[in-house]
């Protein structure tokens, strides 16, 4: 099957990370994020350790580097913002390559880039190794409110349908000679968006009717929770403990 079969963040592979139960991966990722975020920024060695550990996990998960870098582009706006910190930061200043930069600002920039970057790699690891249906099941197993997982599920289910509707409407506009090249042409887009809103609302009503017709009475039925094997939790515990060992050591030795 083509790659459209799966969500865009998923990398098809048969790695040990892919095989882990989703709830184990979700819990581990969240706890790892906690360790990364709580590490003092001055302990550069700790971030190097996280980087190496995540690098090993990325290799284990068989995520192509190009894919990883492509996904990391979402960091760009934050990175651009971070670049301004040293320029506009407070005194004392340091001279680097003939430019006077704020020392405090440099640390702020490093802090943001390192933590956001490592956090993003963790999230990409989770997304690349877990299909959406499994992610939802994982959140459910972790006792996330069923209403929240249901809303997420509906969003994932209907985003393609809505985008399809939107594309057909754009085609219909173009087919009758509409050009979107200047701001004066944006009126029809506005009306198309209004129509989209109403159509989506109507679909929501029909979906609700369909749910009622199959006995829905206000609560989503429990999905079959798949228990994670104790061995899986043990593996996750080792990885998570390593991250927190680094974080705690960093805090003590700062």
């Amino acid at each position: 099957m083509s790659s459209s079969h799966r969500h865009a963040l998923f990398v098809h592979a048969h790695s040990p990370v892919h095989r882990l139960s989703p709830q184990v991966k979700i819990a581990a990722a969240l706890i790892m994020l906690g360790a990364i975020v709580s590490t003092p920024r001055e302990t550069v060695w700790a971030f190097v350790c996280y980087g190496l550990a995540l690098g090993i996990l990325v290799a284990l998960t068989q995520i192509p580097i190009r894919f990883l870098l492509g996904r990391m582009l979402v960091l760009t706006p934050f990175a651009l913002l971070a670049l301004l910190f040293p320029v506009f930061g407070t005194d004392p200043k340091v001279e680097i390559l003939g430019i006077s930069l704020s020392e405090q600002g440099l640390w702020d920039m490093w802090n943001l880039l390192a933590k956001a970057g490592l956090g993003l790699v963790t999230a990409i690891l989770l997304g690349a190794s877990t299909e959406i249906a499994d992610l939802l099941r994982g959140f459910d197993s972790l006792r996330a409110p069923r209403l929240v997982t249901a809303i997420l599920g509906f969003m994932v289910r209907y985003i393609d349908v809505v985008v399809g509707d939107l594309n057909r409407m754009r085609l219909a506009l173009a087919a009758r000679g509409h050009q979107g090249t200047s701001i004066a042409h944006w009126g029809p887009y506005g009306r198309a968006m209004g129509t989209m809103f109403i159509r989506t609302y109507e679909r929501g009503e029909r979906v609700y009717l369909a749910m009622e017709s199959r006995g829905y009475a206000g609560e989503m039925p429990a999905s079959s929770r798949v228990k994670a094997r104790p061995g899986e939790w043990a593996i996750a515990l080792v990885v998570v403990a390593a991250f927190w060992a680094v974080a705690i050591t960093a805090r003590i030795t700062r």
């Binding site: 599920g153 979906v207 369909a210 017709s213 006995g215 039925p221």
Partner: protein, 258 residues
């Protein structure tokens, strides 16, 4: 005679704005029947089937499903007995995977464990969608979506399967698959359509509804042979079929203008 699966007596329904959608409907459907509900757009077909599973409540008259009246305390059982398959499968397949969608109804009925698995497996097998179990509904073909949405309804083991325009948007091959699936299902069926040939292919009996009233009820082949009846209610057999049956060819014999 045995208790009818669907028994509707003197049903009237008007929308809140006063539009009369149904007027004095009497309809009986017996176990094992396969009935077509025919009528032009806006005749009240969908309004009528929404009464059968209690989404609309009768304003006057009664609706009874296998002896059980459609009233608030009976709704869950009514909805189990009457399996509604909606026109747009995207409205009906709302769970992340096919299996979870087929499980949705039985779980609402409180089934779990081996019983649930058995139900779901049987329903998916009867519509030949077992191999799609772990797929996401948004990546299925239209015909597959149609069959999965039917499996989701069959998993509730309904006493009557009600399909709203099941052939719309199907290509001829998927249409053929649907016919085979319908003929293979051991359940009473009511098929809402304005596709007269499909009604003839699948349903021995037809009911014609127009402007909220039942205007004809009888063997499909007899109703379709009555050209006046069809014309009076904005229904018509495809022109091509009439040509094959010996009607004058408009391309060969253009009407003379005098």
């Amino acid at each position: 005679m045995s208790t009818p699966v669907i028994e509707i007596l003197g049903l009237d329904f008007a929308y809140p704005d006063g539009t009369e959608a149904l007027k004095d409907i009497d309809l009986h459907i017996h176990r094992g029947e396969r009935v077509a509900l025919l009528g032009p757009n806006g005749a009240g077909k969908t309004t009528l089937i929404l009464h059968m599973n209690g989404i609309h409540r009768a304003q006057t008259g009664t609706v009874t499903v296998s002896g059980l009246p459609v009233t608030a305390p009976n709704l869950l059982e009514i909805r189990r007995r009457v399996g509604l398959v909606f026109q747009d499968p995207d409205d009906q397949l709302f769970m992340p995977t096919v299996r979870e969608d087929v499980e949705f109804g039985p779980r609402n009925l409180g089934l779990t464990g081996a019983e649930l698995e058995h139900r779901v497996a049987a329903a998916m097998a009867s519509l030949e969608v077992a191999d799609l179990a772990n797929r996401a509904p948004n990546h299925l073909s239209f015909g597959q979506k149609r069959r999965v949405s039917m499996a989701g309804v069959m998993a509730m083991e309904p006493e009557i399967l009600v399909l709203d325009e099941p052939t719309s948007n199907l290509d001829p091959a998927s249409r053929q698959d649907l016919t085979q699936a319908l003929l293979g299902l051991d359940v009473t069926q009511l098929i809402v359509t304005h596709d007269l040939l499909y009604a003839l292919e699948v349903c021995p009996r037809s009911v014609i509804i127009d402007a909220g009233r039942i205007v004809a009820d009888g063997p499909t082949i007899e109703l379709l042979a009555d050209a006046e009846l069809l014309a009076a209610h904005r229904l018509a057999l495809p022109a091509a079929l009439l040509l094959l049956a010996g009607a004058p060819d408009p391309h060969r014999d253009p009407p003379r203008v005098n």
